[in-house]
């Protein structure tokens, strides 16, 4: 970047503490306030699988003026609420970045136990008596987290009033003293921060409070998914709690009844998807949400949904696997299960959004597709996307179609009713229970057009074809991005191909590579099944080298691309349980670009 150019706001703040310190709550207030102040915000929290037990919590918030797509590798500020947890994260603070810590600990600190002894020479230390300030402001040490948020807000001169609004909103419904206490602690920190001379660790330009017509809403992937469900008119939901999908069910449990919706917590994941399919059979828009282990239990029932041609939507937020794996760590290793996990030939629709806004869109569209193509639709999220906060602008007008079912005309009735009539688009008119004169039974057995069990060769061949062919139209489903290309047009040296939450890191790496002069593009694939070959193949044709970065060990998406297109790809597979590192993608792009150049030279 040239020196003359005005620096642009891009600050990443990490708050690190022990479970119970209020770390996540502090990050929550910071990100909501900055989003309301008009900045672009991305935030991702890391927390332990245990509720207490002094596990490590980190709330990272990236505040920018322009749209960005991932977290930064290095934070500009690290606030330590617990030194034992924060010390290993000193490395993630950039040069000339700040480390803010408690400088008046309650008890004697062991040698090497204080974070100040670990800061690098290029770090700027700010020792603050959080505990003392909290006690003075509120009479209790519990508001240390708010003093810390106040301090950072004061240092940067963030809008104090907006923080007050956010704190008030957060504690609405609790005793008034909770709000006033937290505001007092915040103000104490703010005053101290504002009175401190800040050295260089990022600029914060002032923003107008509202930008554009639509309000920016700070939301994570799960909440956006819920909003998509509600806007699509979800009527029934059946679920079983599992990290990291649980909050989808929790928010729906509060919101659905307000519009007459019905939600049942079932005894297991098998019943959850069974009931969702039962409800789908009656014509209701129904869904369930789970993670990898739950999806493993659901696969048999999803096969039933496929053969009986019943709509249902299954949200799957992936976590580290196999088995119980790493419940609070992110991974993209359930692609194979989502796309292929079924007994027999059981193709279904699988959508994988790449950002929070995409969660909203895919959630709503999944209901349309399930109904229109009469099949289960899986929406594949992951922990990073489920829990990642972004400032999102939702459309003013509800973008989802309420009724897509191919209904039965008068002529379609009659005895016996052909539930599985073969039509031009392979989708049969569907009568639901309650329709006069269309009584029929559906089954998990192979069946003829009337739904009656039949295992003759020509019947199974025809019905298998019907179930596959009808889905092909989904890759042209209106008003949803199935795949999209970014970066340089035409022929490129390196083409990135990605899916799911990792696409943010892919884009960031691509932008840096472009600035370095590498001819480079990136394509995201949102629909994993059926695979959008007509869009992906021409893109592969444009790329001298294709790189597929993803968070699994085997390269499940790379396998999918290769099997669908017959093209080899370069893989970048990592399983750290955390988002992919942008610098690792970048290193791979550089290496491939060099190779592509040499090839061209030869």
């Amino acid at each position: 970047m040239s020196r003359k150019r005005k620096p642009v706001t891009d600050i990443q703040i990490a708050i690190c503490g022990s479970a119970g310190d209020g770390t996540i709550a502090a990050g929550d207030i910071l990100k909501r306030a900055m989003a309301r102040a008009g900045y672009k915000v991305i935030a991702f929290d890391l927390y332990p699988a245990e509720i207490r037990g002094f596990g490590k919590c980190i709330a990272r918030t990236r505040i920018t003026a322009n749209q960005v797509y991932s977290m930064k590798q290095k934070s500009d500020v690290l606030i330590s609420l617990d030194d034992s947890h924060a010390i290993p994260h000193v490395d993630e603070v950039c040069d000339y970045g700040a480390i803010i810590y408690e400088d008046n600990p309650m008890s004697k600190v062991e040698e090497g136990g204080h974070i100040s002894g670990h800061a690098a020479p290029a770090h700027i230390p700010y020792g603050i008596p959080f505990r003392e300030m909290s006690e003075r402001a509120t009479g209790s040490a519990r508001s240390r987290n708010m003093v810390a948020v106040g301090y950072i807000a004061g240092l940067y001169g963030m809008p104090q009033k907006i923080f007050h609004e956010i704190v008030t909103a957060k504690f609405k419904g609790k005793a008034a003293v909770v709000t006033t206490g937290n505001i007092a602690a915040f103000d104490a920190g703010y005053e101290a921060g504002a009175a401190t001379i800040r050295l260089d660790f990022g600029v914060l330009e002032s923003r107008s409070r509202r930008r554009g017509k639509a309000d920016l809403v700070m939301m994570n992937g799960n909440a956006a998914t819920v909003r998509g469900c509600l806007d699509a008119g979800i009527e029934t939901f059946f679920g079983y709690p599992i990290t990291p999908a649980t909050s989808i069910m929790e928010i729906l449990a509060a919101e659905m009844p307000k519009t007459g919706g019905r939600l049942v917590q079932t005894e297991d994941e098998i019943s959850a998807v069974a009931a969702a399919i039962g409800a789908g059979y009656t014509g209701a828009r129904s869904a369930t949400a789970t993670s990898g282990p739950g999806l493993a239990l659901m696969t048999e029932m999803l096969g039933l949904g496929t053969i009986a041609e019943v709509p249902s939507v299954i949200f799957v937020s992936q976590r580290g696997g196999p088995s119980t794996g790493m419940p609070t760590k992110t991974e993209q290793s359930d692609l194979n299960l989502a796309v292929f996990g079924v007994a027999g030939d059981g193709q279904r629709i699988v959508l994988a959004p790449t950002n929070v806004e995409g969660c909203y869109k895919c959630a709503g569209k999944a209901f349309e597709m399930a109904e229109q193509y009469q099949t289960p639709v899986i929406v594949l999220l992951d922990l990073y996307l489920s829990n990642r906060y972004e400032a999102v602008a939702f459309p003013e007008k509800n973008p989802f179609v309420r009724k897509c079912s191919k209904g039965v005309s008068r002529r379609g009735t009659g005895s016996p009713y052909s539930r599985y009539a073969i039509t031009d688009d392979w989708v049969s008119p569907r009568a639901v229970p309650g329709t006069e004169g269309c009584q029929h039974a559906i089954t998990g057995l192979e069946h003829d057009v009337f739904g009656r069990p039949n295992d003759q060769a020509h019947v199974h061949e025809m019905m298998s074809r019907k179930r596959h062919e009808k889905l092909e139209a989904a890759i042209n489903h209106p008003d949803i991005t199935i795949s999209k290309r970014f970066g340089d047009r035409g022929k490129v040296d390196v083409g990135l191909l990605g899916w799911g939450s990792t696409f943010g890191e892919i884009l960031e790496a691509m932008f840096v590579a472009q600035k370095e002069g590498i001819k480079c593009a990136a394509m995201k694939v949102v629909m994993l099944s059926p695979f959008p070959k007509p869009a992906v193949v021409p893109y592969l044709d444009d790329c001298a080298e294709v790189l597929v970065p993803e968070l699994n060990y085997e390269g499940q998406f790379a396998d999918l691309v290769t099997s669908a297109t017959g093209r080899p790809v370069n893989r970048l597979n990592r399983v750290p349980g955390t988002p992919m590192r942008v610098d690792e993608i970048l290193a791979e792009i550089r290496r491939l670009a060099d190779g592509a150049k040499q090839m061209a030279a030869e």
């Binding site: 009527e235 029934t236 059946f238 509060a254 009844p257 307000k258 007459g260 919706g261 019905r262 049942v264 079932t266 005894e267 297991d268 098998i270 019943s271 959850a272 069974a274 009931a275 969702a276 399919i277 039962g278 409800a279 789908g280 059979y281 009656t282 014509g283 209701a284 129904s286 048999e300 029932m301 039933l304 009986a308 005895s415 016996p416 229970p433 309650g434 329709t435 006069e436 004169g437 269309c438 009584q439 029929h440 039974a441 559906i442 089954t443 998990g444 057995l445 009656r452 069990p453």
Partner: protein, 300 residues
Amino acid sequence: MTDIKKPVYLEEKLEEVTQSGRLEYRSKSLPTWCPGCGYFSIVEGMTAALNRLQVQPKDTVVVTGIGCASRFPFFVNTYGFHTLHGRALPVATGIKVANEKLTVIAVGGDGDAFAIGGAHIPHAARRNVDMTYVLFVIVIYGLTKGQTSPTSVLGFKTGTSPYENQDAPLNPLMMLLSYGAGWVGQAYAGHPHHLADMIHQAIAHRGFSYLHVLSPCVTFDKTTKTYKNLGVMVRDLPEDHDDSDQMAAMGEAARTEAPAMGVFYQKDRPTLGDGLQEIVKRARGTRTAGKRRAARQAAE
């Protein structure tokens, strides 16, 4: 308890059945069960009961799992869903939750219900899903050609227990009673009129009703629960049995050597649908209260 008292002439019977209107509830598909199977009694009883209750075929959904019972939906002229092994109840729950107007009947066998599907029964019972579960107990796996089931007696010799079954049988009636099912009854396929009456009562009950139907497997069990043996074993519930007394019902259910026919227990309590409606009411109430508060604050 003899059903046939005078000679029956085919023409008269046909006329009677046609006139009754219950053929409306029969499909044109021919049942695939073995001749002599007790399922024929259940289909007959079911169609008679639905006809008596005047439930429209279009508003009825029959849900099954896997097993001999599972083909049931194809032989009745209602809506039907032949689902997966053990999963009839959760699918049926979804159907009822989505459309309260439907009459939902689940039909299954004891392997489907108490082996693979065992986890779902207590929850359907405790939630009091307003549906009827007709269980057909032949104490053997029939569709896979004769293996022990959760209700097979000790010492039963089958394909999977060539050295005799060593696993004690379950007592489904006691299980259902302890799960809090709101209607628990037992019938015998050899007494089709009583069976029809019990199906009628089970469907009429508002809430989860469980009807345990004893029947022989005429093909694979020639020794234990045959028509001959069952006919001798079954008895009526004592005349003074109080069907609101859960402990008395448990006592009757414990007497497996002499299975009793009739309604063991019934109790009305709010259904799952009632609960879900209450939730909607509360959610909407809170919202209106919030709006009222906001309006009041705005006025101030």
